[in-house]
Symmetry: C2
Subunit: 226 residues, 2 copies
């Protein structure tokens, strides 16, 4: 494929704490500045999680709005993507920031184990988030942590809750979910072409597999994520 | 592979009710008789769920023991497998019947969506069930509802919680989990050979896909399940 790769930056995430890594940007101004640095280094898309004052994963719509506003000012043209996932968030609140109409938002289309817990995305919640994204004209990024989520995304298209062509991210390397394995990625890409023709995709992997996943994505026609 | 196919019968299941189908055997004597009929028709292994007096999915160890005792009497040599899964069971009770030392028990090695709910198998519960099966010398049947569960089973072998070679069942056709699709089964079999060499397997599919899954299993060297 001749399409240019889009370099994405994921700031903060839902898990790391200041105690583990003092450089993790948790407050909105820090998040904006960290995004700005990535933007100047070439990142075109930012994936945003926010935290509360105690550093816990949060769904606070105002915080999302403050980060969005700062990034719009400092990083003109950058694509802003809100996370609707991540561990430790109240399911009923996970879509509350969509009303601020980010360009994109993440949407996990199934449930899977993550390390010691169950990352729960019950079907009615997935439907609600998808509906809210349509209502607020937010482009979903389908997060695929396990194979069934790909077929579930197709189901959502068939039911009118997702607009084709979709954009997906394959996430690899989380214990309990899919491993960072090229053969798995190849299978996912083949099934994507069959079930969601025209879809664009990116591949992300945790920790030490991150660069490998970027290389695979570049070689196979995907977008990039740092 | 030249190994003989083992024909399995799953009685009752965790979902159907008498209201939906009056022929579903719910009480232990009915379950024993239904199993006996399948045994005489050639089934060599029985997968057992039990119900409480209201017909709800149950983990009652005494009920499991009564069904086990009846099947041992009526169906000499038949392999008895207790379910540790199924919807609507208290997680803390799911392994309580293992003390009765069935020949086998099911063990789902991950979480996934099932229709409108999350079928939750948190990693600590999986570990506990696997440990209890080792303690009571029960052979697990690994239930694979989504791809990551296969790699999770390998992890359990590496951590000494499962003994290789394992036996797995690929379950297809439940909405939210893997579809009944030959290409998916082929990929699962290939990954099984790579990550769990020597494993035996069977394939089950829901409803109208059941016969198709049986045909695939016969053709590809798996066991059968009705
Ligand atoms: Zn700046
Ligand atoms: Zn995220
Ligand atoms: Zn009998
Ligand atoms: Zn069962």
């Amino acid at each position: 494929m001749a399409q240019p790769a889009i370099i994405t930056v994921a700031i903060t995430g839902s898990q790391p704490t200041k105690a583990q890594n003092p450089a993790v940007p948790l407050a909105p101004p820090e998040q904006v500045e960290s995004t700005h640095q990535a933007f100047e280094a070439g990142a075109a898309l930012v994936h945003i999680h926010v935290r509360d004052d105690e550093g816990r994963s949060s769904s606070d719509a105002d915080r999302f709005a403050r980060v969005q506003e700062g990034i719009r000012k400092h990083c003109p043209g950058m694509i802003i993507q809100f996370s609707t996932g991540g561990r430790g968030r109240d399911p009923a609140e996970r879509g509350s920031a969509l009303k601020h109409r980010p360009d994109m938002a993440s949407l996990a289309t199934g449930s899977v184990n993550f390390a010691t817990i169950v990352y729960e995305n019950p079907p009615p919640l997935i439907d609600d988030l998808a509906r809210s994204m349509i209502e607020h004209e937010v482009k979903p990024e389908i997060e695929i942590f396990d194979l069934a989520m790909l077929y579930n995304a197709r189901e959502l298209v068939d039911r009118g809750l997702l607009k084709a062509p979709v954009h997906v991210q394959f996430v690899m390397g989380i214990p309990g979910a899919l491993p960072a394995r090229e053969k798995v990625l190849d299978f996912l890409i083949g099934e994507l072409e069959t079930f969601l023709p025209g879809a664009t995709w990116t591949a992300a992997a945790t920790g030490r597999h991150q660069l490998e996943a970027n290389r695979w994505a570049l070689a196979k026609g995907g977008h990039l994520r740092t």
